[in-house]
Amino acid sequence: MCDLFALCAAHSHCAATSLPLFAARGRRNVHGWGIGFFRQNLPVVEKSGEKVFQEGRLHASFQRLARVVASPIILAHIRYRSSGQVDECHAHPFALDFWGQSWIFAHNGEAGAIEPYLSRHLPLLSAGSDSARTFEFLRDYFADAASRRRHTPFLQILKEALIGLIERYPGEYNFLLSNGAFLWAFTNHRQFLLLRGSQKLEDALLLTTIAEGLSPENWQKISRQEGTWGKILLIAGGDLVLAEDLLPPAVEAIESSGQDLPGRLN
């Protein structure tokens, strides 16, 4: 199974310590790697179809990029192929424009049902994988909802898109999505591990799917709660700003209408 990494801070940070640890602990993923970040609101993605770890050594380019890349938000992905070919094109993150902004996206999980999905919008991603189709599905939903941008909170559109995705294309979804200003993380299967205020790694918010975390510190485990369709995190400026459950459609509709639900904060 692929693994995900994100660093988020209020100001530009390097991930020179945590990225190599992420690669080393995710070395079983042998089908490529990628690092994505933003420079002046434009996405920059460096990726490869080669192993991130080979013969006991970290891929030289990955190592150099880990030392050099500096940005308030850095995403990384190490791939274990479950869909599509093994090459640079199929490595993550991917980049697409929607909602008036550029976004980068990295995913892990198996969602074979979405592989035949045909996007109604351009451009199309050249990769033939469930991850590429998932990103296109989300892009399409936001593109179709563009006229609602002025009066609808982003999370409401995202929840609608995720419900549509899971209803029509059931599968395991676990992704990171960022426009450089903030980061959304979603999971309906694996857990995320989150750390703030590390004494051993970067002093930023760190997020990963590596089960043991990246250091012997107090990593918080965040996962989907029973009875929900997934967990959505909003991360910005080095903080966990919001953690929301994606509720089943009928419950989500009641929640959106503002009616009371058991367990609501009041």
């Binding site: 200003a181 989150l194 909003l234 009041n266």
Partner: protein, 247 residues
């Protein structure tokens, strides 16, 4: 009533298209003003105890600052005479450093009971209601988030706001921002939000000024709150309203 303004963008912007209109429409508030913003991770606040209008002109400094200040988040406050004080140092926005961030805060409403709050760490010693509310919010969020890295800022703020309107009933509208995220809380009246056309750049403008800050009030979406005992929180980052949460 004092009036509030905030602008959020994905990159540094000036609020020169909106701050002069904000001043113009708040001209009856003659007791001071302030503009707060972020630069290189630090808070900068320029404030004055003079009227926002001098003769038939917007205050000279306010006009110049409106043209020059650029930041991802800009917050402004125009003080009404009901505020009951004239000192420049007591004008808003207020600022403090907590939870690893510099924060800006401005507030309007009617909340006399909040004067009773006594923080162990006052921001300023003077009897300033806005300071007492800011201290309450800060102390509450810190208490919520102490050793709870899995708790979100929203959750901490929501619990604190609920406690605020329970312990010190009143009518509150405030903006609370660090360099990345802006929270708007209200349990009365309304906040208006405007998303300018893309040709003017990617930003979001918020105000309490009735009718908004452009010619056509229909361009502004109102977020009203009628029930004082509940309230709502808006989360804004970059040029997007990300979330609307009801307490």
């Amino acid at each position: 009533m004092c009036e509030l303004f905030a602008m959020s963008a994905g990159q540094n912007y000036t609020a020169q298209d909106y701050l002069p209109v904000f001043a113009d429409k708040s001209r009856t508030n003659i007791s001071g003003w302030g503009i707060g913003f972020f630069r290189a991770g630090q808070v900068h606040i320029e404030k004055s105890c003079e009227g926002i209008y001098a003769g038939d002109q917007v205050h000279d400094s306010f006009q110049r600052l409106a043209r020059v200040v650029d930041s991802r988040i800009i917050i402004s406050h125009i003080r009404c005479s009901k505020a009951g004080h004239q000192k420049e140092s007591l004008a808003q926005p207020l600022s403090d450093h907590f939870l690893d961030h510099h924060w800006l805060f401005n507030l309007t409403g009617d909340f006399p009971k909040a004067a009773g709050y006594r923080s162990p760490r006052p921001i300023i010693p003077e009897e300033l209601l806005a300071a007492r509310v800011f201290e309450f919010i800060r102390d509450g969020m810190e208490a919520q988030l102490q050793d709870r890295h899995d708790l979100s800022l929203y959750q901490a703020l929501a619990v604190t706001c609920k406690k605020l309107i329970t312990d010190y009933p009143g009518e509150y509208i405030f903006f609370l921002a660090n360099e990345t995220v802006l929270f708007a809380f209200l349990n009365s009246a309304q906040v208006l939000i405007y998303h300018p056309p893309e040709v003017q750049g990617e930003s979001l403008v918020l105000t309490t000024v009735s009718g908004g800050l452009t010619r056509d009030p229909d361009n502004w979406r109102a977020y009203p709150n009628a029930d004082r005992s509940r309230g709502q929180i808006l989360i804004i980052s970059g040029a997007d309203l990300l979330y609307q949460g009801h307490l």
